[in-house]
Amino acid sequence: MSATARAQAAAGGGAVAREGFFLAEQLWPIKGQLALALIGLALGGLMGLMQALDRVGIVIYKSMLLQSYYQGLTIHGVLLAFLFTFGFGNAFVSLMAIRGFERPLASTFLVQGAFWTMLVGTVLAAYAILRNQATVLFTFYAPMRASSLFYLGAALLVVSTLLTMLNLVLTRRAWQREHPGERTPLLGFVSVVTYVMWALASLGVVVLVIFLLLPWQLGWIDTTDPQFNRILFWYTGHAIVYFWLMPAYISWYLLVPRQVGGRVFSDSLVRLVFILLLIFSVPTGLHHQYVDPGIPTVMKVVHLFTTFSVVYPSLFTAFTVMAALEDGGRARGGRGLLGWIWKLPWGDPSVAAQLLAMLVFILGGATGIVNASYNLNNVVHNTSFIPGHFHMTVGTAVALSFIGITYWLIPYLSGRELMGRRLALAQAWLWFVGILLFARGQIAAGLLGEPRRTSIGEAPYRDLISAGLDNWLTAIGGTLMVVSGALYFVVIVWTLLAGRRLSQPLEIPLAEMRFGARETAPLWDRLGFWFLIAVILVVIAYVPLFVLYLPLNSVSPPIKVY
């Protein structure tokens, strides 16, 4: 590669041939993890139908061969929140790192290991759940007892993400050795930051499962402290949403602009956003525990401030991504204040799905600020307002973006042309309409006091909370989303089985910068420095909490209640 081409690539642009850095022995585990993710999406999504109809008293879990509504809900949560997101993240972000650094991953062993670990973890957890030995939902709060296989499976899913993290960090280091003194390519940088954030974030749940839950379930220790367990769970439990979201951000920031013919506003702002996400994602977990009785109020206030800080980079996203879209719309002949919106390539299902996902994310973010708002959370905590919120964030901003990404990624990986483009477009719009109805229903019912993760269809108090119309909206919207999901799999299977062979391989759509890496301060590249800042913030947010909370109150033996 010539020096100019390399500089251009480092600045984020320029077409680069596929050959050389995509190795077959690294591509198959990437494809394998993507396949596991999509199996998770299919089965987990299917459960959504049972849940949606339950809102209006149509109880069908028995005809789906489930022991209870909650067994289905566990499948829904575990497959979608863990398998779908982890599998897609591992596959997509690994691929982005290869493209970003223009070199193979540092370790073939690690990427293959990530695949096998994920496969074994999925099989173990699925076995426990399907045998009704782990109907504990994806939060598995102690002192609820589940089969040890379930915890082992969940732990292996996390291990597969950590193997990927290690591989990405080693790949960056290898790139640095090969390019002394050069700026880290932006795509490679954001890929590594996503997983480095997760390395810090996953610590809570890793400690929880390995040191508290497994020994307790196996009977090596008799009792555990449920409040402390929850603190560790939510240490990871909020940051994990950024781990779900950041792969979508990578696409929104660096790929979608290219797909709409625009440029990214500036290298420095993108780096700043990802660095802020690295710093502020983790020390925020207590905002999920504002109404927990055992947590000192002063610590809840500290986490209120850190949580508002992590909103900041998402507000930047609204600006930066919108600016790149406007740049594309105007380049395509859009005029006037808003005329550029209609000039965007809405006919491209990959673009349409992701633009609609972004629109829904505005509402998802706004409702998230409600949840984060300390005393305002009293009105919505653990009501159906919460699933209303997160089906707009992870359930749409993330899931529909991932779906949109696969509309180019699967043709890219399989070498087959996308079939049923109009069906794919209909899929994206159907999801959009579905989520708006669903979220409207869940949010309104939640404000009236309807609880989340509850079989409302079987609840004796269903008519005492007058959310009848809202529950119908939830049921209709949720059903539309399941139908949309079914259309998606028709498109994907059709493409894989009958798609025409592409005459020449596709390229990953990587956008150019208006202001490139050369104009970014060198400090922005110092990943170790920013990681240290993140660790310091975690210490500030959690060590005083532990000091105020301890000693542990280990009073609960395992209890099976399903």
């Binding site: 609820m144 653990n382 009501t383 005492l464 909370i465 209640v561």
Partner: protein, 155 residues
């Protein structure tokens, strides 16, 4: 580092917006007096039936239109699951769990708290209108979770 004018404007506006949010929360807490539940002590869930006040669940009249409702949460019922108070009462709900994590939300009010084994949960609500107020368990607690609810009857 280069920051464009539009970028800078947006960064300032976004920061202002978040600052306004914090001000709103502060007004809610300091002026309107809406607080989050704070720690009310620890308790052993295995010994709940012999630990006051949970050895005698029920409603206590504290005088001056103030009441305390001591409620035990277990899979899958509240004990008691119905209390009756006059209009204008202020009721403090004191809850504890004997087994797994439960929740308590009094539909349509700010009274919302987790009921975690080992922790005493406390929230307060004022009842100015006659009628029936439903409270439900809002944390998944097993097979019969959806059956777990109670009522405040205000006369």
């Amino acid at each position: 580092m280069r920051i464009e004018t539009y970028e800078r404007m947006f960064m300032i506006l976004a920061a202002l917006m978040l600052a306004l949010g914090i001000v709103g929360i502060a007004i809610g807490a300091l002026v309107a007096g809406v607080h989050v539940p704070s720690p009310a002590g620890r308790v052993d869930p295995r010994a709940l039936s012999s630990t006051p006040p949970f050895d005698q669940p029920g409603l206590r009249d504290l005088g001056n239109s103030k009441y305390e409702a001591v409620i035990v949460a277990r899979a899958w019922q509240f004990q008691p699951n119905e209390i009756e108070v006059p209009v204008g009462s202020t009721v403090t709900f004191t809850l504890a769990s004997t087994d797994v994590i439960h929740g308590f939300v009094l539909a349509g009010t700010n009274a919302n708290v987790m009921v975690i084994p080992g922790q005493i949960a406390q929230v307060t609500a004022r009842f100015d209108q006659p009628g029936e107020y439903v409270w439900v368990c809002h944390e998944y607690c097993g097979f019969g979770h959806h059956q777990m609810y109670g009522k405040v009857v205000v006369r």
